[in-house]
């Protein structure tokens, strides 16, 4: 039942207009044909009426309004200052002027910021997922005692605000000499995110097919071999999704970099952007360039991983 429904849905709206099967007797028709007929008779579950065009336009306008700030940043970042002053922010530039972007890039030493952000996010993605996977393995596959409470603890820990950990972490990192060092953030974010990752992976791993585990055990596999040659290969896709998320979350993080990385040379993209606000207010095109340059890496990332990201948004919220 549900399969025929979904196949009928996936067809474009105009399939309704096809008159196939209309001449057959009702009893001879397939469910699909019956469905089409009933819709046709009703005058349009799928019909494009004047009203439906109106709704399309309303929502389209809203969606355009939603992306317009990004569009404005883009348009004005490639506009020369003189042209901005004469024609204003809304008009399209008559010629593309990369000076704002180049100027901002050099002034903020953006290459350095990109490299810092990339390193932190990359190592957090690896280390955070590794910790999550090992812990989740013990919980989801090993079903160790007290697993419910460990997961509950992790889940609760994930909602603790950074402010409630930040100062002690700052002192600790100063003690071990990692203050103003990007690796302090690698450690902190790996652990904080692995609380979430463990929570998520544990529920994935607890649905792992028991037949496979039993078969491997009968073959004499210990928990290490089970992890390496059975569980890991089959969980790899999920781990990759998690890595994408850890990467982007770390990239976007603001508070802890703000506290942990005081010197300019260790700042991340997000941090330097947040601090740049207000710095170029007298040069609006510069600030547009700053915003654009900051957005581009994530936009690129979004375009590459769009499916993963959209799918992953619901990850862990409702199964």
């Amino acid at each position: 039942m549900s399969t025929t429904t979904s196949s009928a849905r996936n067809g474009k709206g105009n399939t309704v207009n096809s008159a196939s099967g209309a001449s057959k007797a009702l009893s001879e028709m397939t469910p699909q044909e019956l469905r089409k007929l009933s819709k046709r008779g009703q005058g349009g579950f799928n019909k494009r009426t004047f009203g439906s065009w109106a709704w399309l336009i309303i929502i389209l306008v809203a969606a355009i309004a939603w992306i317009s700030p990004l569009y404005l940043a883009f348009v004005n970042s490639v506009k020369s200052t003189t042209e901005y002053d004469t024609t204003g922010p809304l008009s399209l530039p008559t010629y593309i002027d990369f000076n704002n972007i180049i100027h901002f890039w050099n002034k903020a030493n953006f290459t350095e910021k990109l490299w810092n952000s990339f390193q932190i996010s990359f190592f957090v993605a690896i280390l955070g997922v590794l910790i999550s996977f090992l812990t989740a393995y013990a919980i989801g596959i090993g079903k160790i005692r007290g697993r419910f409470w460990i997961l509950a603890l992790f889940m609760v820990a994930f909602t603790i605000p950074g402010e409630a950990l930040m100062y002690p972490l700052l002192r600790m990192m100063k003690m071990i000499g990692l203050y103003d060092n990007i690796y302090s953030l690698v450690i902190i974010f790996s652990v904080l995110l692995s609380a979430f990752g463990t929570y998520l992976l544990s529920s994935v791993l607890s649905d792992f097919p028991t037949e496979l585990l039993e078969a491997a055990k009968i073959d004499g596999a210990g928990s290490f071999r089970l992890l390496r040659s059975v569980v890991f290969p089959l969980t790899r896709p999920t781990l990759l999704v998690l890595m994408v998320f850890f990467f982007i979350w770390t990239w976007n993080e603001f508070l802890l970099p703000l506290v942990m990385l005081p010197s300019n040379s260790s700042q991340t993209v997000s941090l330097s952007m947040g601090l740049a606000s207000g710095q170029y207010t007298s040069e609006p095109t510069q600030q547009a360039a700053a915003a654009l340059v900051g957005i581009l890496p994530t936009l690129l990332f979004f375009l590459i991983f769009q499916r993963t990201l959209l799918k992953g948004v619901t990850m862990g919220s409702v199964k």
Partner: protein, 314 residues
């Protein structure tokens, strides 16, 4: 579930095998790191909230004085009031708008204009979600700036106000700043709810919608009677997670207003940061963050209970 083959469910209890205990070493690194990075700092912070300390020398124990002071601090109460406003603009409004838009996209526009149309629009609404919040703040402070901002310059260009000096100061005026920040937060948050709700709708049984439509139910009737019911678990989870996010708001405030003008847009997270770092009132900052943490932990426990119940139902 109308499938004919009965689904045989595995017994829920794990088989008690002698191997069970060989798994615990795998959890050791994770737990150790967790203790060092979360548990120790958390309790250390609670300890600090009972002290007076400027970060130099050693903290001085002053009992519950910080909490007593907190209860009488207008800025503290004001910041929590702002958090409640943010719950409206980050949890309630995006949930309501998200329900309407996702349902309209999925249930009304997608069958008529094809899936591509709704996928592209969904991506448009989702775009602000992927921008780092600090950069979203930068973008908006550029648009809202009183002298050179895009909005005011356009207002002048269209002749609505004579000059930018007389245009509204969106972030600098105490009564407008809160409104502006809220608009930005709605802009950021809406995409999240739309994506979650649309995936919830895709999960559901579409034949109910079609059957209702065939019976002559209008879109709004279907929305009210079917969609809302179908998305009940998503709505609950979205409301809780976005409420948590609303209480944690820090970066947009830091970037756009620094809690100001005055304390017009101050929030607990920023107020705590301000005491920790800007004025070195470590004990007081710790007390604020501890109160915030406790509220969030209570919400997390709610969320946890809800999810375990849902998993039980499945």
């Amino acid at each position: 579930m109308t499938s004919v083959a009965p689904r045989v469910r595995k017994a829920e209890k794990a088989p008690k095998s002698p191997m069970q205990d060989t798994y615990w070493p795998w959890i050791v690194p994770g737990i150790l790191l967790f203790v060092f990075i979360v548990v120790v700092p958390f309790f250390w912070n609670i300890y600090l909230s009972f002290t007076k300390w400027n970060g130099l020398g050693s903290p001085k124990w002053i009992g519950a004085n910080n909490y007593v002071k907190l209860m009488g601090d207008d800025v503290f109460w004001q910041s929590f009031l702002h958090s409640i406003v943010f719950i409206i603009s980050m949890a309630i409004i995006p949930t309501v708008l998200g329900l309407l838009i996702s349902s309209a996209l999925f249930d009304y526009l997608s069958p008529r204009f094809g899936n591509r149309v709704s996928t592209v629009m969904r991506a448009g609404f989702f775009l602000p979600q992927i921008i780092p919040i600090a950069i979203a703040g930068l973008l908006w402070s550029w648009m809202l700036s009183s002298q050179y901002g895009i909005i005011n310059v356009t207002l002048v260009q269209w002749g609505i106000v004579p000059s930018t000096d007389e245009a509204p100061n969106w972030l600098g005026n105490a009564s407008l700043a809160m409104l502006s920040v809220n608009v930005v937060l709605i802009w950021i948050q809406l995409g999240y709810t739309i994506v979650v709700f649309m995936s919830g709708l895709a999960r559901g049984d579409q034949s109910i919608h079609e059957a209702a439509a065939i019976d002559g139910a209008t879109w709004f009737q279907r929305f009210r009677m079917i969609t809302i019911n179908q998305l009940r678990p998503e709505i609950a989870v979205v409301l809780l997670t976005t409420t948590v996010a609303a209480l944690k708001v820090f970066a947009p405030i830091y970037v756009m207003t620094q809690g100001g003008p005055g304390s017009a847009t101050n929030v607990p997270a920023y107020f705590s940061y301000f005491n920790f770092i800007q004025t070195s009132n470590v004990g007081y900052g710790a007390a604020i963050s501890t109160v915030l943490a406790i509220i969030l932990i209570v919400l997390a426990i709610f969320l946890l209970r809800m999810q375990t119940r849902q998993q039980g139902n499945n």
